[in-house]
Amino acid sequence: MTLILRRWWPLPALILLLIFPLVFAEPYYHLLGFNVFLFATMATGWNIMGGYAGYRSLGHSAFYGLGAYAAAIAANQLGWNPLISSPILALGVAVFAMLLGWAMLRATGAAFVIASIAMLLIVRLLANNFENITGGAPGLSLPIPPWPPMLSRLPFYYYMLGVLIVAIIVSGFLRRSRFGLGLLAIRDDEGKAEMVGVNTTLYKILAFGISAYFVALGGGVWAYAQTHISPPFAFGITVGVQLILYTMLGGSGTVWGPTLGAFILVPLSDLILFQFGGSPIHLAVLGAVMMAIILFMPRGIIPSIRGWQEARAAPRATHTGALSMEDLQRMQGGKTEGGSPSEAAAAEHERP
């Protein structure tokens, strides 16, 4: 909670979000709010792997789809309500992700990006072909929510807002923990991180699992809100792309960046979709925005503003979410596990 209380604005913002659906009573705004929270949650999850550890996965839609299908199958076969079952089933997806990660995270950099796409395509192909479990290409239907239709999307709105708060607290806690510092060290220089005693393999696998957890949880709730899911939507690559886009716009590797990005871009892309209908032009716009961010603002909004503020306050080195002196000291103080520096240095030498 210290994270929330350290700043003055999250509380008024939360109150605004709590009364927002009562002021704007049309179901459209409830759905829009739900979508913003959904993608903010999942982008916050993606950021733990892609932003903190620097392993940018393009295949996180695989966990989204797995979460959606797990919730749908549990609802149909066992009668579990997805709002209750999703947080539990997502744990299973996270374990699955860690097993995959154990193999996948041997690949680094661009090889990891390609492996993540391959992972998504394999899972999608399996979902398409195991018809007796997944319903094949036509997909699966879920039960209609039990509350009165008048309430419409309102329960989803508040539920997802709660999940988002949890995600931000977890992400903020991780960012300030030794674990988070280890991830940042991996991003900055994996070899050196290993040398100062970070168990890089374990850290990466854990981060992969945690980031998959929030995406799978989002997928489960999304499936319930949709009431119907099919492979092209549950395992579409665009969901993963959106997560990257929102994170990068807000600021990759920052706690609030993914949420900020989702709050800006989800309503905007809704507007684009509204303008152009369902035509594929929104894909082109999505791609163009992504290119513009990569080329002209690769650091994202929050680090850019922070750098600008610090440059104005005092002409010292800008702090962009990379490790600070204070961070390093904290890490040194807690350094106990892992091989001795000389062992790690020897291992470093063997690398090709």
Binding site: G54, R56, L58, A103, M104, R106, A107, T108, G109, A110, A111, V113, I114, A115, I117, A118, M119, L121, I122, L125, L126, N128, N129, E190, I237, V241, I244, S279, P280, I281, H282, L283, A284, V285, L286, G287, A288, M290, M291, I294, L295, P298, P352
Partner: protein, 299 residues
């Protein structure tokens, strides 16, 4: 499960080899671009589909022979590739992960635009020869049936690869490209203009996929969305062959062509693409250097 007869296996393997020849042309640009600047061009599949559409429209509107569409698509993609490398990719060349995302974003733009203007129905160029088959009797009971489009496609692919090889082998520009693949710093020290070579290589890479796209348009059915299936096929070829290795890409393309055909016979054709994805996934995590390449590393 009933095992398919030897005849079927032989037939499928022969057609697979021919298919692999065409794959080689479609994939060679991808491995060349990686070799010179360590860039994985995810938009390669989208450019393949784009040049197939160019062939399709030139054929539909003007009756132009699809193979001849290269006079339009090759220069177009070559120039685009030079500009894209010079003015976009080179700006962020220090972050290779970001470069992958940029080419992916470019693919999204291309696919979105193609889907908007040319709809999402499956297209294919149907010339008079698409269904012609060459029948080769082998022994008393066995007849090999080889589609002419695949024979012609692989012959043309080999011709195009030969031109590329000769260019890399004998021209000054080709020598500079090979020098850059071997050691960029040393190449720069002896006076190679790296920025120019990189732009040129990206152009060449897209030019080869434009040529591949012309053949592709006759052999396969395509929609704007099929780019992700094809980019993963092409990636698995160059990863298996060893990223940056041209002979590796050729060998891997032939292997994948045969493997895909056999998978379709032994499993069902719906699930056969999984061969590509699994080979891609497993090569990356078990043998990142592929068959002939150097190790794919973080630059």
């Amino acid at each position: 499960m009933q095992l398919p007869s030897l005849n079927v296996v032989l037939q499928v393997a022969m057609v697979g080899l021919l298919t692999g020849g065409v794959y080689a042309l479609m994939a060679v640009g991808l491995t060349l671009i990686f070799g010179v600047m360590r860039v994985i061009n995810i938009a390669h599949g989208a450019f393949l589909i784009l040049s197939a559409y160019i062939a399709y429209w030139l054929f539909t509107l003007f009756g132009l022979e699809p193979v001849l569409s290269v006079v339009v698509s090759v220069p177009l993609l070559f120039v685009f590739g030079m500009f894209f490398q010079r003015f976009a990719l080179s700006r962020i060349k220090n972050d290779l992960g970001l470069v992958v995302l940029l080419t992916f974003a470019l693919a999204l733009v291309l696919v979105g635009l193609m889907g908007t203007f040319w709809q999402t129905t499956g297209r294919s160029v149907s010339t008079w020869y698409v269904n012609e088959v060459l029948i080769i009797p082998v022994g008393a009971t066995l007849k090999l049936r080889l589609p002419w489009v695949k024979i012609g496609g692989s012959v043309l692919a080999i011709v195009a690869l030969g031109i590329l090889w000769a260019h890399l082998k004998f021209s000054d520009m080709g020598r500079a490209i090979r020098a850059t693949i071997q050691n960029p710093t040393a190449a720069q020290l002896v006076g190679v203009n790296i920025a120019q070579i990189q732009a040129f290589t990206f152009g060449i890479g897209l030019a080869t996929v434009a040529a591949g796209g012309a053949l592709f348009s006759v052999i396969w059915t395509f929609t704007p969305g099929s780019h992700d299936e094809w980019i993963s096929k092409l990636l698995s070829i160059i990863v298996l062959g060893g990223m940056g290795s041209l002979p590796g890409a050729l060998i891997a393309a032939l292997i994948m062509g045969v493997a895909e055909g056999l998978a379709a016979v032994f499993m069902t054709s719906y699930i056969s693409p999984i061969v590509f994805y699994l080979i891609l996934f497993l090569t990356l995590i078990l043998r990142p250097q592929g068959l002939l390449g150097s190790r794919l590393r973080e630059g």
